[in-house]
């Protein structure tokens, strides 16, 4: 029983990271029907900017780990958010009317980010400072660190905040209007480009949060880290029903837990086979994903 519980905890932790990245995929798809392949790489960029910030602050003799983390997160999320907007402006906006070109542009943006990180930072991986110890609540044989608890809770809170943003604010109303019909939204006086830019900002900032937390929790980041994570997050978004925010969260956690259980009870070598097998099965039965029933009114 302990083992199963532990695997659940492991899966929820990994799943939280997938979910954070998946949200960006799903938001962008919901609004402009673009699979933003650069989403996973924005997660890497967030991790690297966070590392730069932490190194800078360490140089200024700041020691308090909470202050360090908070500053690192704010700067990284802000900067990565702006980068997301920049990518939209440069690589996507001119191509909004040509679905195939914009997809290629997204792949280009992804590779550009990956290899910029390689050139600017390191062709190898970098090591994050360890600000927090691995301690956690005493639960017998079950190992949970405070850090895992924090990652899980903050991720949930961010996702909830996002849900509120989309469903309870004016900006969110504009986003949803856009998702239904761009031209009609424009006629209603919505500044389409600004709303899309805001969507990119929020999606990228969430990925950056995941990136910094990855660095702090696992201690290691690399320019290609967004590739595999992005792939899994994309899977999660599709599984949950792409375009659907609670679906992306659910999908992220499901992919994380399935991976963990497949590794624990079948084999690490078969993990991806099992995960993607389940994905195919679900999509065959429910082509729109778990929560993607209302196609017209996405998000």
């Amino acid at each position: 029983m302990d083992v199963a519980l532990q695997q659940l905890v492991n899966g929820l932790t990994v799943g939280a990271f997938y979910a954070l990245i998946a949200l960006g995929y799903t938001m962008v798809y919901g609004i402009i029907r673009l699979i933003n392949f650069a989403q996973g790489d924005l997660y890497s960029v967030g991790a690297f900017i966070g590392l730069s910030m932490l190194s800078l602050l360490a140089g200024l003799h700041l020691r308090n780990p909470l202050v360090l983390t908070a500053l690192g997160l704010v700067v990284s999320m802000g900067a990565t958010g702006l980068l997301g907007v920049l990518i939209y402006r440069v690589a996507y906006r001119p191509l909004l009317r040509s679905p195939l070109s914009i997809l290629i542009s997204a792949i280009g943006a992804s590779l550009t980010l990956e290899y910029s990180l390689l050139l600017i930072y390191s062709p190898s991986f970098l090591v994050y400072p360890s600000l927090f110890d691995t301690g956690g609540p005493a639960l017998g044989d079950l190992v949970v660190s405070w850090m895992q608890v924090t990652i899980f809770l903050v991720s949930l809170a961010l996702m909830l905040a996002l849900y509120v943003l989309v469903h309870r604010t004016k900006l969110g109303l504009a986003m949803r209007a856009l998702a239904i019909n761009q031209d009609a939204a424009r006629l209603m006086g919505i500044d389409v480009s600004r709303v899309i830019a805001a969507t990119f900002f929020v999606g990228s900032a969430l990925a950056a949060f995941g990136g910094v937390m990855t660095g702090l929790y696992y201690g290691q980041i690399s320019f290609l880290m967004g590739f595999l994570a992005g792939l899994k997050a994309f899977t999660a978004a599709v599984l949950g029903g792409i375009g659907n925010i609670p679906g992306a969260m659910l999908g992220g956690f499901i992919v994380g837990i399935v991976e963990s259980l497949a590794t624990g009870y079948i084999s690490g070598r078969w993990k991806d086979v099992v995960t993607f097998g389940i994905l195919i099965l679900i999509l065959v039965v429910r082509p729109r994903g778990l929560l993607g029933e209302r196609v017209v009114e996405r998000m």
């Binding site: 695997q7 990994v14 595999l228």
Partner: protein, 376 residues
């Protein structure tokens, strides 16, 4: 105009005769070094390249080889089979007379095929998969041990020194890691009272291995032996300690890199690593370490000393062959006997493997690799 024709033909002929001959006299002798310069093993690759450059610089200071300077040409193989083939082809096209280098076996194996086709000698300094010298290629040599030697060594150590009965083996499905894992399992199979309780792979490039470690924890191993690379090894050691998995954490010779310690942090303490002797444990390598530090400002990494020897063995072979002809260099390399290197005396056997290799167990203590000493 007609009158000038014979003259111009003569000029062309004279130029054609002079240019290559005159050029060859001054042109440097190119040695190829394929190594990973990007990806998880980039540090190890850069150290190997540094070792090769140091060897070439020192040889050039003594007048080079056959009166010509030596030039090191590097190519990034990223530890990847496809990129390795491209890198090898790039070196062949650049006109290298021989190749000394490599790190990951998954790249070195396909590279060896390209070099074989091109008839270029390949002296491997760090790729330990047995297959490399089992292909029947006459151009492949290596100055380091094989994983079917390391595996039994690790097995004996776990059973005889650590008195382990329950052993978990984790690899990462790469050629090297899987080969070492299987060699270790085979060596353990004959030992009474010893069980391999876990044998599975993790995925390189991922960061969370807690699912695998949770399974291992439930099996209560005495030792976990990880045969993959340090990029994942450091993370694995960290999560091993965090999850409070019982037993020792032991890793193969792709984890003897200082980056492993940086990555694992406090969890590195007490980790055991099976390895070919590192430069600091080699009495003949003192001058090399000093020269390396002076030139690059940091410690030489685990395999650069073997690369330094590989380059020097190749230079010695070129001298013996007294030509830069690729085939002649291969023949000369095959006759390498009792070469006095910084990693010891090196002779190649019929397969091209180094005769009489040593292994040692490293223990990480206070952030340093130290020679393992049994607890009193």
């Amino acid at each position: 105009m007609r009158r000038f024709a014979p003259v111009s033909v003569l000029v062309v002929v004279v130029l054609a005769l002079c240019a290559p001959a005159g050029g060859a006299q001054g042109a440097p002798v190119k040695l190829g070094v394929p190594v990973p310069l990007s990806g998880g093993s980039a540090e190890a690759g850069q150290d190997i390249l540094n070792g090769a450059r140091l060897a070439a610089d020192q040889a050039n200071a003594r007048g080079g080889v056959l009166g010509r300077q030596i030039e090191i040409v590097s190519a990034d193989d990223a530890c990847d089979a496809q990129q390795g083939v491209t890198a090898a082809q790039k070196l062949v096209d650049a006109g290298v007379v021989a190749v000394a280098g490599g790190y990951c076996s998954s790249a070195a194996l396909p590279e060896s095929g390209v070099f074989h086709t091109a008839g270029v000698a390949f002296v491997a300094d760090a790729s330990t998969n047995p297959q490399l010298t089992e292909q029947g290629f006459d151009n492949v040599f290596r100055d380091i041990g094989r994983d079917d030697q390391q595996g039994p060594f690790a097995a004996n150590f776990m059973v005889d020194d650590l008195h382990a009965h329950r052993i978990a083996i984790v690899h990462d499905n790469t050629v090297y890691a899987k080969g070492l894992a299987e060699a270790t399992r085979t060596a353990l199979a004959g030992k009474p009272g010893v069980h391999v309780v876990f044998f599975d792979a993790i995925t390189p490039g991922e960061k969370d291995f807690t699912a695998t470690l949770t399974r291992i924890k439930s099996l209560r191993p005495d030792v976990l032996y990880f045969t993959g690379y340090y990029a994942e090894g450091g993370l694995l050691a960290r999560q091993f300690k965090a999850l409070r998995v019982p037993g020792e954490f032991m890793a193969g010779d792709a984890n003897n890199d200082p980056t492993f310690i940086k990555e694992a942090g406090a969890a590195a303490d007490g980790v055991l690593v099976t390895s070919a002797p590192l430069a600091q444990f080699l009495p003949e390598a003192k001058a090399y370490i000093a020269a390396y530090r002076a030139k690059y400002g940091h410690a030489p990494g685990p395999y650069s000393a073997y690369e330094y020897d590989a380059v020097n063995i190749t230079i010695a072979a070129i001298k013996r062959a007294n030509t830069t002809d690729r085939a002649a260099i291969i023949k000369a390399l095959a006759r390498t006997t009792d070469f006095k290197g910084i990693t010891g005396t090196i002779s190649f056997n019929a397969k091209g493997d180094r005769a009489g290799v040593n292994y040692m167990v490293l223990e990480i203590r206070d952030g340093e690799f130290t020679a393992y000493r049994a607890a009193a």
